[in-house]
Each structure stands twice: as structure tokens, then as C-alpha cells.
């Protein structure tokens, strides 16, 4: 029995070691552009938008087939948001988002990979007021993008990424005020970072 357990432990340890050697991880910094969060008609048209947002992305992935990997990518953005009515802009404070996407990735050409997946996005307003009076929403998200990698050091690659994602936005406050439906929000981000060098 002891021998079997020892053998099993060795096998698990060996498997973990193999998996560790295959894990790809990366971190990037960049900016994210978002389309409008809301369009309201109150005498005049009012749009609510987020400013260009500094972005931090962290991800990890594992090979699941000879050329494909499955991964998890988390992204945090933080920027001001505002309403615009005719030419009048009103600063509404700071809005942070956090997204988590399970994705699949594969090669397009050497050094250039595609990535696509689905996950969730959560909004964290700095102040719970206005459209976020009842808190920030969590919404379903789909996204895709490309990653370009270039060898930088023996253990690190330079990674340049473009991402597009899409979700539908509304809040509990907007629903309580009888806004119907939700707003399609598209985000486009560009970022640069480092990833573990590929063997």
C-alpha cells in the first residue's frame, strides 16, 4: 500500500512538473476604448460614456491539443465616465471594470496567435450614485483578439495584443426606472507586456 501511494505521489509530482513547464503566463498594460454605456432621451439626448481606460491584463493558459491552448484572462480597467448632453459634459466620477474570460487560443502564423472566449464583466463605480445607485452590474461577455510575440530574453517574450469584446449593459437602477432592454457595449483594447518565453 505504501509503495503504491509513493508511486502515485511520484506520478502526480511528475505530471505537475510537466504541466508547470507547459503553463504560459503573461501580463500586459494598455488602454481600452468603450462605446457608449447608455443613451437616454430626457428633453434632449444624453449619452453616458467611459473615457479611454488604462488597462491591466493578466492571463494563464495550458496546452490542450498540439497547437491549441485553453486559458483564463483577467482584465482590470479604471477611468472616468461622463454624460454628454448637447455640448455639455458632466463628469460622473470613476468607473472600474473587471473581466474574466475563459478562452481558446491557436496559431495564425508563426508568432501571431488568435484568441477567443467568453466570460463575465463587472462594473465597480467609485460612488454608488446615478445609474449605479443600486451598485454595478455583472454581465456576460464574449471576446476575441490576437497576440503577437517576439523573443525578448531567454525566459521572456514581448507580447503585443489587440482585444475586442462585447456585452450588453444595464444596471439595477436603470431597470428600476423602467429602462427597457440593454445597451450593446463594444470594447477595443491594445496592450503591450511580457509573457513566458515559449520553448
Amino acid at each position: 500500500m505504501r509503495t503504491m501511494l509513493a508511486l502515485l505521489s511520484l506520478m502526480v509530482a511528475a505530471r505537475v512538473s510537466v504541466v508547470q513547464s507547459q503553463v504560459d503566463y503573461y501580463g500586459r498594460l494598455g488602454v481600452t476604448f468603450s462605446t457608449k454605456l447608455l443613451r437616454d432621451d430626457l428633453i434632449q439626448e444624453i449619452e453616458t460614456r467611459q473615457n479611454l481606460a488604462p488597462t491591466l491584463a493578466l492571463g494563464v493558459s495550458l496546452p490542450i491539443a498540439p497547437t491549441y491552448t485553453a486559458g483564463l484572462e483577467g482584465t482590470i480597467t479604471s477611468a472616468g465616465y461622463y454624460s454628454e448632453e448637447q455640448d455639455l459634459k458632466t463628469d460622473l466620477g470613476t468607473l472600474r471594470t473587471g473581466s474574466l474570460i475563459l478562452n481558446l487560443a491557436g496559431p495564425i502564423i508563426p508568432r501571431l496567435d488568435w484568441r477567443a472566449g467568453a466570460g463575465v464583466i463587472h462594473y465597480w463605480p467609485a460612488d454608488e450614485q446615478g445609474i449605479f445607485l443600486r451598485g454595478g452590474p455583472t454581465r456576460f461577455l464574449v471576446g476575441a483578439g490576437v497576440d503577437y510575440r517576439s523573443s525578448l530574453l531567454t525566459s521572456l517574450d514581448l507580447m503585443v495584443s489587440l482585444r475586442y469584446d462585447w456585452h450588453r449593459f444595464t444596471t439595477d437602477e436603470l431597470e428600476a426606472r423602467n429602462f427597457s432592454g440593454s445597451q450593446g457595449v463594444q470594447r477595443l483594447s491594445a496592450s503591450v507586456g511580457l509573457s513566458r518565453a515559449r520553448p
Binding site: 443613451r39 423602467n178 427597457s180 445597451q183
Partner: protein, 223 residues
């Protein structure tokens, strides 16, 4: 297994495309506002409709409150109620320690100031009364700051209902101070002339939003 590289992305793009084709979020009708503007007679057959809201450049509105009868707490409650009525930071207010720097002064007592230029907007809840005095000199289009709000208990402050009455009347009078110059005809609204509810109704909210999205014809003087 080797798929064409673009195949896994296609479902994502299809989902996004389907989503993009959906209608945008739709605004509510906001069809229930009551008349908030003040109609004043200017001649035998003529009238003028006066409207006001605090300009964004004056926000947050500075409110000084006399420290008696829990008035500061009641005013805080009223400010929170009115701030929550808006989606786009149209209104904001805070309490200040120096009455000399205040845009609105809230005191205990009955409205005292009289005269032609003062627009009085009273309310009479059962256990207390309130009044708002807006100083608009004859022929002028500029309100003279500060706007004065008075809150007065009709019974001893400890009597049942007095504190609650002061709270809802403070919210009602702040409604006048932020630009709702008329009373609602509906008892379910905080701006009903004899207010009995302590929270803003949908009509109160719709009215305040509308008041802050039309161009007013009155301004307010500096302090």
C-alpha cells in the same frame, strides 16, 4: 486535430453580430411630471412662467442648517433623497458650517420675511409646517441668494410624529429650493402641498429630472 485558425472565432463574432443588431436600451416614458414652474400674472391678460434650477457651476449647493430639532439630520436625508432622483449628477448639495457662505439657509421657525419680492411656497404637514422664501425682486430674473427654508413644529418636539413630520417637510422644502416652485396635486408625492410621504415618488423624480433638463429663465445671484 487542426482547425482553420478562424473557425473558433466565428461563433464569437456571430454572437457579437447578433447582439449588435439588437435594439439599444430604451428610455422610460417619464410621462408623469406635474407642473413645477411658477406662473405669475404680469398684466390683466398676461402671465409669465418662471423656471429655475441650480446651474452645474454652482454645485454642490451649500446649505447651512440651524442645529436644533434634528434639522441637520433631516436636511441630510432630504439632500440624499433629491440627489438620488437624478441619473447624471444634475443636482448635488452639502451642508456647510458658515451661514455666510450658504446658498440655502434652513432655520427653525415660521417664515418671517414678507414683501412683494418674496415668493412663498408653504407646506402644512399635520404635526409641523414649513416654508421656503425665494427672493425675486420685481422685474428681475435673478433670484437673490440665499434661499431661506423654515421648519416649525406645531407641537412639542418630543410629541409623536413631529420628528417624522420635520423630516418629510425638510425634503419637501428642499424640493422648492432646488427649483420645484409648485405643489403636486397628488398626495402620493413629496411635493404635495400637505406632504404625508417621506420618500420621493416616481412623479417627483420625473418632475425634478425634467426641471433640470430645460433651460431655466431665472438665474441665482452669487453669495
Amino acid at each position: 486535430m487542426k482547425l482553420a485558425w478562424y473557425l473558433p472565432i466565428l461563433p464569437i463574432l456571430a454572437t457579437a453580430g447578433a447582439g449588435l443588431s439588437c435594439a439599444d436600451i430604451a428610455s422610460p416614458s417619464r410621462s408623469q411630471p406635474y407642473e413645477w414652474r411658477r406662473v405669475v400674472t404680469t398684466g390683466p391678460t398676461t402671465a409669465d412662467t418662471l423656471s429655475f434650477h441650480w446651474p452645474r457651476s454652482r454645485l454642490p449647493v451649500r446649505i447651512w442648517t440651524q442645529d436644533t430639532l434634528n434639522l441637520p439630520q433631516h436636511v441630510d436625508y432630504g439632500i440624499a433623497q433629491w440627489k438620488a432622483a437624478f441619473l447624471y449628477r444634475e443636482f448635488d448639495a452639502l451642508q456647510v458650517a458658515d451661514s455666510n457662505a450658504a446658498d440655502v439657509i434652513v432655520s427653525a421657525g415660521v417664515a418671517l420675511k414678507g414683501g412683494f419680492s418674496v415668493m412663498r411656497l408653504p407646506s402644512r404637514a399635520p404635526e409641523c409646517e414649513g416654508g421656503t422664501e425665494i427672493d425675486l425682486p420685481a422685474g428681475s430674473r435673478q433670484i437673490q441668494a440665499p434661499i431661506r427654508v423654515f421648519l416649525n413644529p406645531r407641537f412639542a418636539p418630543g410629541e409623536p410624529g413631529v420628528d417624522e413630520c420635520l423630516k418629510l417637510t425638510a425634503t419637501h422644502e428642499l424640493g422648492h429650493a432646488l427649483g420645484i416652485f409648485n405643489h403636486s396635486p397628488d398626495a402620493g408625492d413629496i411635493m404635495y402641498s400637505d406632504p404625508v410621504v417621506a420618500v420621493l415618488s416616481e412623479r417627483d423624480r420625473d418632475t425634478a429630472e425634467r426641471a433640470y433638463h430645460i433651460v431655466p429663465n431665472l438665474t441665482v445671484s452669487d453669495r
